[in-house]
């Protein structure tokens, strides 16, 4: 008891925090503001707990605690913190802010378990612990039918993908007699069955990452869910899966090592092209974000082509950059959606005239996602392409790069909307709340300086 709690202080803390919120709710406190503040405080303490240096430790082969997964935890919590700040005005007005907070904390504990796993079972438990409450949260716009539908679609399709994941894991267990990630590669012989197991596990991951052709749920779920949850799915949930991809899937991938790059590059191209082409003519804001995030996933997968430390560093670095860039866009998008009540890209029209700060924030975020130097996004993409470069033929890299140009087209469209179009509907409150402003400011600073300063890449390299 002592050892395992010592290993997961964050989960222990989150559990107490959940009990606290639950207690307050039962005792009849019903102020949204209170719960939002409690939630923020809880996430902040969690960040503090992982930031506090601790020695590496492990509990059997179930849970590992090391600098690497403390880093990713910190990133996930930080992303969550920003998202909660940006959705706080929506959440404060919600009757069920307490329930929302509890669900979110459960999701965070689940993700925390998942990223520190040393064992396929814990991985699966963490994953499910995070997925089920998320589906409930996706349907949290209680009056919107789309939101309810979004939640249902998320839970049903993720149950389906989990089925495959579990099937794959069972096959692996059957073949090797172990579920410890460290032991699997040693015992796994090359066989067709192993290959099928790999593909099933991979498909489960690909579903969660919304890589094509497992992406069909993405746009619908993103569109229906409340914006905060959309942001959470696109940023936090995606990053955690990408990280586990690196730590879980890579080691046991040896069975299909020799064909892996070719298969993956095909998926990458499919993913990036589909994401970009579907994003080109979107008019719905959230669907647009969904498809552009699909395209970004394709880039993340570039770092998975060749298992190497450098590739892993480039993926992690990209995740950091991706988080800050997305924060800058989602924050403003949510703020606009709350005011106009519309899920449309035309929300952005004339934004520069009404709130130049917001417009610059979105513009920087978009530039970074499009990979234009010297924003951090460029370095992120450059490292990913550079690390994928050694695995496959240069022509695939050219095709991937070509997509950076295509994506520029639709990202610039929004920049044009903001700076050059006339305002359609004047905003009621063109001023932003201070916390939102600060979160955007931090994002913008990160985009500008994360690429130009080298400490984060150096820090990441030391983690391996």
């Amino acid at each position: 008891m002592n050892t395992i709690l010592g290993l997961i202080p964050v989960e222990a803390f989150l559990f107490c925090w959940i009990l606290l919120i639950l207690g307050l709710k039962i005792s009849g406190k019903n102020s949204g503001g209170l719960y939002v503040n409690l939630l923020l405080l809880g996430v902040l303490v969690a960040i503090g707990l992982v930031a506090f240096p601790a020695p590496n430790a492990q509990f059997g082969d179930l849970i590992h605690v090391n600098a690497l997964n403390r880093f990713i935890r910190g990133l996930l919590y930080l992303g969550t913190f920003f998202i909660v700040i940006q959705s706080s005005s929506w959440l404060k007005k919600h009757d069920h802010a307490a329930e929302f907070s509890i669900l979110l904390l459960v999701v965070l504990s689940g993700l925390g378990l998942m990223v520190s796993t040393g064992n396929l079972l814990i991985f699966y438990l963490g994953l499910e612990m995070a997925s089920i409450p998320l589906a409930a949260m996706a349907s949290f716009n209680l009056t919107s039918k789309m939101s309810g539908e979004s939640g249902l679609k998320l839970i049903l399709s993720s149950a389906f993908s989990s089925g495959f994941l579990l099937f794959g894991i069972s096959l692996i267990f059957g073949l090797t007699g172990t579920i410890s990630i460290a032991e699997i590669p040693v015992n796994l012989a090359n066989s067709t069955l192993a290959l099928i197991a790999m593909v099933m596990i991979f498909s489960g991951f690909a579903f969660k990452l919304s890589a094509v052709p497992f992406h069909f749920w993405t746009a619908d779920v993103y569109q229906g869910a409340p914006m905060g949850i959309t942001a959470f799915l696109a940023i936090v949930s995606k990053s955690s899966i990408a990280f586990v991809f690196l730590t879980v899937l890579f080691p046991i991938l040896s069975a299909i090592q020799q064909v892996w790059p070719t298969v993956l590059i095909a998926l990458i191209l499919l993913t990036i092209f589909t994401g970009n082409i579907f994003a080109l003519r979107q008019s719905s804001l959230k669907r647009f974000l969904a498809f552009s995030s699909i395209a970004q996933v394709g880039f993340i997968l570039m770092g998975m082509l060749v298992p190497s430390e450098k590739a892993a560093v480039s993926v992690l670095y990209f995740l950091v950059v991706y988080m800050f860039s997305s924060i800058c866009i989602f924050g403003v998008a949510q703020w606009l959606e709350e005011q106009t009540g519309k899920d449309s890209l035309s929300n952005f029209k004339g934004l520069y005239k009404e709130n130049p700060f917001a417009a610059w924030s979105v513009a920087l975020g978009l530039f970074s996602l499009a990979g234009i130097p010297p924003t951090a996004g460029f370095f992120g993409k450059f490292f990913l392409i550079g690390s994928g470069f050694q695995g496959v033929s240069v022509w695939y890299v050219v095709l991937v790069g070509l997509n950076m140009v295509i994506s520029l087209y639709y990202y610039l469209k929004i920049v044009k909307y903001m700076f050059m179009n006339e305002v359609i509907e004047e905003l009621e409150k063109p001023q932003m709340a201070l916390p939102l402003k600060i979160s955007l400011g931090i994002g913008m600073l990160a985009i500008c300086f994360l690429g130009l300063s080298n400490w984060i890449v150096n820090h990441l390299s030391n983690l391996f």
Binding site: E149, I196, W217, D220, R281, K310, L408, N454
Partner: protein, 636 residues
């Protein structure tokens, strides 16, 4: 007072700092104050760069001007062959460029003081100009190719901001977007070229790259061959694609004429003297490597020749004063490009010198011409030559200045353009007589279309309703630019800039000059006949040569070609069906589902409408396809 390294840092740093200060202060800063900040900063940079280049050229190493590294420190050790450092270097061409950039930028900023007066975002204009100048200076001083790429893109971003400065005009917005996307497309080639080249040489430092090829370590058999050319050759081709995009070489030139939508002083800076020659600079920087690859040099040569000739033909029939100048810029950069290309042949190495000589003189006379065009547009409030005519009375000083520019570009002695163009033609002759032939035709065309413009604007039919006027604020910077436009040709250029770094004697071949000067004068004479007075000759010849005329008016239909590729290839063939699928198949289920829920209030039914089953079906198909694919791959 300052060490050379400090000076080298300060030269690009000052404009960057000013961008930060003016940009952040924005409207809180009085207009005039922000302008003086910008001008003062660039003046300081100019003084530093003059001092730096004088001290550089006064200290040759063993009689030669070599690549000198001020400093370079490791910044990122990403992987074995991806090490990136930050550093600044000096060599003859970068010293040349810093002086050109700073002096033209100074004149342009000074000119803008009057030209942009009363513009709504006056402060931002100066902030963007500083950003552009700083990035351009950083580009030419970079010690490694990756750092250069960063500045290269920053130059693209700031030119995007400047071209789209009049963002109320839809055409300006479209033009800025086009410029950005087209050059980005080309930069993709550059980026991949960088990756390939650094893969081959294991370094990104220019010094390291040049040493690698000099030392003879390079072996095409080892580095890998694809389609009978080595990896390094392909890397150079891709880098050249980037260079051709920035320098607006055919067929990637389509963004430059549209970019004329920006403020005219911006065109003088970006589209005449600095950014568009970045491509020439890039090829020049890697020249010792390029010259090892015969095939790549042929590509550079012929792209240059094609651009210079086609652009000259298009310029003949354009009626927008800035577009004529834009096409003439294209044509002149074509000259610089093929001069580099022919310099690969033994005996014609001085083509390198000639190319940069022309870059140097062109920067002055072309920015003079652009600023003069700006002064005319400022007075007439139109870009169309239709609305000009007879302006020599209203604008006598501008008239003389424009004439100087035209004489210089037409290669009439003793104006600066004569010397540099002679040099180019001479080396083309030594290397490939066919190139020389094209170049000769091109210089005839140049003289013709420039004087056509000159006569149409200042002579021909006059408009009594135009109240043109001149102002000293506009004229003075132009007068200063006119001095080098006349005299820059007397600089003994080859004692400073050569492909080997060893100073050489300059020779003037008087007999050789007869043909080019003759054909230039012929062009001027024809233009005089056609356009000095209003007459029917232009229409007669236009109908006689109607095929060629249509091609020229239609700009050889490159825009249409690209639009077709883009519209049909991307939008019609892919994005529209994608949007339809998304709306009617993927999204349709959701809408339908929502309506059904409304009617039936039955959430379970919703899942039965087939939508989710579709997801599952796709998912299954995906897994099956993946399994099949991996199995097949393993079998084979």
């Amino acid at each position: 007072m300052f060490t050379p390294a400090t000076e080298a840092i300060l030269i690009p740093l000052i404009p960057f700092l000013l961008f930060g200060i003016i940009g952040l202060a924005g409207r809180r800063l009085p207009e005039i104050f922000s302008a003086f900040l910008g001008i003062g900063g660039i003046l300081a940079s100019l003084l530093f760069s003059l001092h730096l280049s004088v001290s550089y050229f006064s200290e040759p190493v063993q009689g030669a001007f070599v690549l000198k590294e001020f400093f370079s420190f490791p910044w990122l050790n990403f992987s074995e062959n991806l090490k990136i450092s930050i550093g600044l270097v000096a060599d003859p061409i970068s010293m040349l460029m810093v002086v050109v950039i700073c002096s033209v930028s100074l004149m342009v900023q000074w000119f803008s003081l009057t030209y942009m007066k009363g513009e709504e975002r006056f402060q931002m204009y100066y902030a963007f100009l500083s950003l552009f100048t700083g990035s351009m200076l950083g580009l030419v001083l970079s010690s490694n190719i990756f750092q250069m790429y960063i500045f290269w893109e920053l130059v693209g971003v700031s030119s995007f901001l400047l071209i789209g400065f009049y963002f109320q005009k839809p055409s300006a917005v479209a033009a800025s977007k086009k410029a950005f996307i087209v050059t980005r497309f080309a930069d993709l080639g550059f980026l991949i070229g960088i990756l390939l080249l650094s893969y081959e040489t294991q370094t990104m430092e220019f010094k390291g790259i040049l040493d690698y090829f000099k030392s003879g370590n390079f072996n095409p058999e080892v580095s890998g061959i694809w389609m009978s050319h080595s990896l390094a050759a392909w890397a150079l081709v891709l880098i050249f694609v980037g260079a051709a995009g920035k320098s607006a070489m055919f067929p990637l030139h389509i963004w430059l004429p549209d970019a004329m939508e920006g403020p005219t002083p911006v065109s003088a800076l970006i589209h005449a003297a600095t950014m568009v020659v970045a491509g020439v600079f890039l090829v020049g920087r890697l020249f010792p490597v390029y010259s090892l690859f015969e095939g790549v040099m042929q590509l550079v040569t012929w792209i240059g020749v094609l651009s210079s000739i086609l652009a000259a033909i298009i310029a003949i029939s354009q009626t927008d004063i800035k577009r004529v100048l834009a096409y003439s810029t294209l044509s002149q950069i074509g000259y610089m490009m093929f001069a580099l290309g022919v310099a690969g042949k033994a005996g014609a190495e001085a083509g390198f010198t000639a190319s940069f000589f022309h870059l140097f003189t062109h920067a002055f006379f072309k920015s003079l011409l652009f600023l003069a065009a700006g002064a005319i547009i400022h007075a007439v409030h139109s870009n169309e030559v239709e609305n000009m005519g007879g302006l020599r009375k209203q604008m006598p000083i501008v008239h003389w200045l424009f004439l100087i520019g035209c004489l210089a570009i037409s290669g009439v002695p003793p104006f600066s353009g004569f010397f540099s163009k002679e040099e180019i033609l001479l080396n083309a002759w030594k290397s490939q007589p066919l190139v020389y032939g094209f170049a000769l035709i091109g210089s005839g065309l140049t003289a013709f279309y420039m004087f056509r413009l000159f006569f149409l604007v200042f002579y021909n039919k006059s408009h009594s309703d135009v109240h043109g006027h001149e102002s000293m604020g506009l004229n003075f910077p132009m007068l200063l630019l006119a001095i080098p436009a006349v005299f820059a040709g007397f600089v003994p250029f080859s004692s400073y800039v050569t492909s080997t770094g060893l100073p050489e004697e300059t020779h003037l071949h008087l007999m050789f000059s007869i043909a080019p000067v003759g054909i230039g004068l012929l062009g001027i004479g024809l233009a005089y006949l056609f356009y000095f007075k209003q007459n029917s000759l232009p229409e007669q010849w236009a109908s006689k040569l109607s095929g060629l005329y249509k091609l020229s008016r239609g700009k050889f239909y490159f825009d249409e070609l690209w639009r077709a590729v883009y519209q049909i290839g991307l939008i019609r063939a892919l994005a529209t069906p994608a949007a339809w699928i998304d709306k009617n198949l993927v999204d349709g289920g959701l809408r339908m589902g929502a309506e059904k829920t409304l009617r039936l209030g039955d959430r379970v039914k919703l899942i039965q409408n087939g939508k989710l089953q579709d997801y599952v079906l796709y998912f299954l198909m995906g897994i099956l396809a993946l399994i099949l694919l991996t199995l097949l791959m393993i079998q084979s």
